[in-house]
Amino acid sequence: MAPAVQIRGLTRRFGPVIAVDHVDLEIPAARIFGFLGPNGSGKSTTFRMLCGLLRPTEGSVQVLGHDATQEAEALRRRIGYMTQRFSLYEDLSTEENLAFIAEIYGISGRQRRERVESAVQEFRLTRLRSQRAGTMSGGQRQRLALAAATLHRPELLLLDEPTSAVDPQSRREFWESLFDLVEAGTTILVSTHYMDEAERCHRLAILDRGRVAAEGVPKDLMRDIDAAVLEVTCDHPRAAQHVLNQVGEVRSVTQLGARLHILVDPATPEPERLVRTRLDAADLQASVEATDASLEDVFVAATRRPLETAS
């Protein structure tokens, strides 16, 4: 199957700032493709170029066989875009918002009523039919936004940080809906800075400062991580962390309660012994063992800095 999206040498500058820096990606059809990265890594800018809202400074984007910049209007009918910020009308109800979006996409009369009705059922909005969007919770708004974005049955769905204002339960349900859509043949692009969300994607690109730092199936990315992953358990984790930060081969130390999660340069022979020796030298009792990498480790290994999720 032809890829749904082909991105070649995509670059976008805002004055002196390079938001997206020579990105090459191929996104397969009927899959969920994730963009993982901190704020400012270029996720939103890439999305906006994909749906023709921004023109690339360099490079090209082919979406569903169209040039996203030149043929943006032709693409509009085939793309659904869920903005990061809730962008439906807060002073309109669920049904009014959906009916409006349907008509904007040229769906009218009986077909419109059927589509709205099935969307209301599918996204569990029955009890919110006549409630205004402004009075809904984050999770409810998000279901409404997804219902609106899929009303015209788009082939490609762009979701820009869809679950940033949503509780974990709603997030789980949201992803169930996404898998239903993929099953029906929709290609979904989702940007996120949540690890658990990124892990659910079929494929993943890790973005850092506008560049693709790593790309692949999440499981492969974790397996093929470019670092040795160790776990240290000890009585004085703060002191141990201080010691390990001084070691050149140690790339990062993350504390998880009483444990320390450590990434060591993959070129190091016997990383466990290195760590144990250093801790012994500092008179710290600790157990050190190899462990499986998480997606966060992949991110840290690829970008050489931790993922800032906050703000």
Partner: protein, 365 residues
């Protein structure tokens, strides 16, 4: 085509729904015309009467007393203070107790016969321009004594067409339709697109197949109806409260109003594409509104303005509408006789809409 109409209708319906829930805007639809017509109709009164005046009559002769009575008979002034000297009059004038002072010197009677010297002195508080006008009225008064040598006191007989009672309300109320429409139409639409941008709706809208023209026309539709409603309110209130005459055809007035509403709405839309925030849109609206009120001929006669001001005024839709509405309502002219003003409004509509569409990009960069 069908889809295009469907989309325009969708935007209109959405706009009406939002409008219905926006109490403040809804209140303005009816509140602005009512408030304006009452304010302007009652407060603006160009016929000045009963000004507080003081008199210092040092002559105390039969002639001088007659002269004072003559002045009072005009009803322009009302003598509230009797003074003894010019100094006292000046003091009173400065304190604002009187706005006009009449000083008749001791030798008033003799001066009346002396063509080289004025007989009396009129002191005027010139800080108010309308009072100065009144003073001119008094200046034109004939001297109190019959002078056989003098020819007919009046050279011209004045015939006042279309507003024989010289009531300000008659001139003000029809043109007020235009002021009210400028205020509400430009204001409503100037925030229309900015608001969607501020609330984030626009980022969604521009990823849909809706075109710029569809979006703009759909947004304008409800306001056309609101505008016509406001015209009706002003006409009815003008009739009931101010007894405003209506000499032309009502259809002509609504056609003229339609052209003016279209021009005002697109002007607002243009502002909306220029402004970054709703606040900026408001500021720009006021920037249009003030010259409209001052230069359009609504407040001051158009022909009396300097040429520069007249040229600026030609670029304001209200100027053309004031000509239309006064022609139709007061002079009974048909819209066919006033076509230049109608064309001006049409050109205005076309140019403003084109500029707005060109300004608006379905992109974020």
């Amino acid at each position: 085509m069908m889809r295009s109409l469907l989309r325009i209708r969708a935007i209109t319906v959405k706009e009406v729904r939002q409008l219905r829930r926006d109490r403040l805007t809804l209140g303005m639809v009816v509140g602005v015309p009512l408030m304006q017509i009452l304010l302007f109709g009652y407060a603006i009164n160009m016929d000045v009467r009963n000004l507080r005046a003081g008199v210092a009559d040092q002559a105390v002769s039969a002639t001088s007393r007659q002269f004072v009575r003559d002045i009072e008979a005009t009803q322009v002034v009302r003598f509230t203070e009797q003074m003894n000297s010019a100094e006292e009059l000046m003091d009173s004038l400065r304190r604002g107790e009187i706005t006009i002072g009449v000083f008749l010197p001791r030798d008033f009677d003799r001066r009346l016969n002396d063509p080289t010297r004025p007989a009396a002195q009129l002191m005027v508080d010139g800080s108010d321009p309308s009072i100065l006008n009144v003073a001119r009225q008094i200046l034109r008064m004939p001297p109190p004594r019959r002078q056989p040598a003098q020819p007919s006191a009046q050279l011209f007989e004045l015939r006042n067409f279309y507003n024989p009672e010289r009531r300000s309300a008659v001139q003000i109320v029809p043109a007020l339709i235009g002021v009210i429409l400028t205020m509400t139409m430009v204001l409503f639409t100037s925030v229309a697109i900015v608001r969607e941008r501020e609330r984030g709706n626009l980022e969604l809208l521009i990823t849909t197949p809706v075109s710029t023209v569809e979006l703009m026309l759909g947004k304008l539709m409800p306001y056309v109806l609101i505008g016509l409603l406001q015209v009706t309110i002003v006409l009815l209130v003008g009739r009931w409260l101010f007894d405003m005459p209506f000499r032309g055809r009502i259809v002509d007035l609504y056609l003229a109003a339609l052209a003016f509403i279209a021009a005002s709405l697109t002007l607002g839309l243009l502002i909306s594409t220029l402004a970054k925030t709703q606040f900026q849109a408001m500021q720009m609206t006021i920037f249009i509104l003030l010259p409209s009120i001052l230069l359009s001929g609504f407040m001051f006669p158009f022909d009396g303005m300097p040429v520069v001001a007249q040229n600026i005024a030609e670029f304001l839709p209200l100027t053309h509408f004031v000509r239309l509405v006064r022609g139709i309502v007061l002079r009974g002219a048909g819209i066919g006789e006033l076509m230049p003003a109608v064309w001006a409004l049409m050109v205005f509509f076309t140019v403003a809409l084109s500029l707005a569409v060109l300004r608006f990009r379905k992109r974020l960069d």
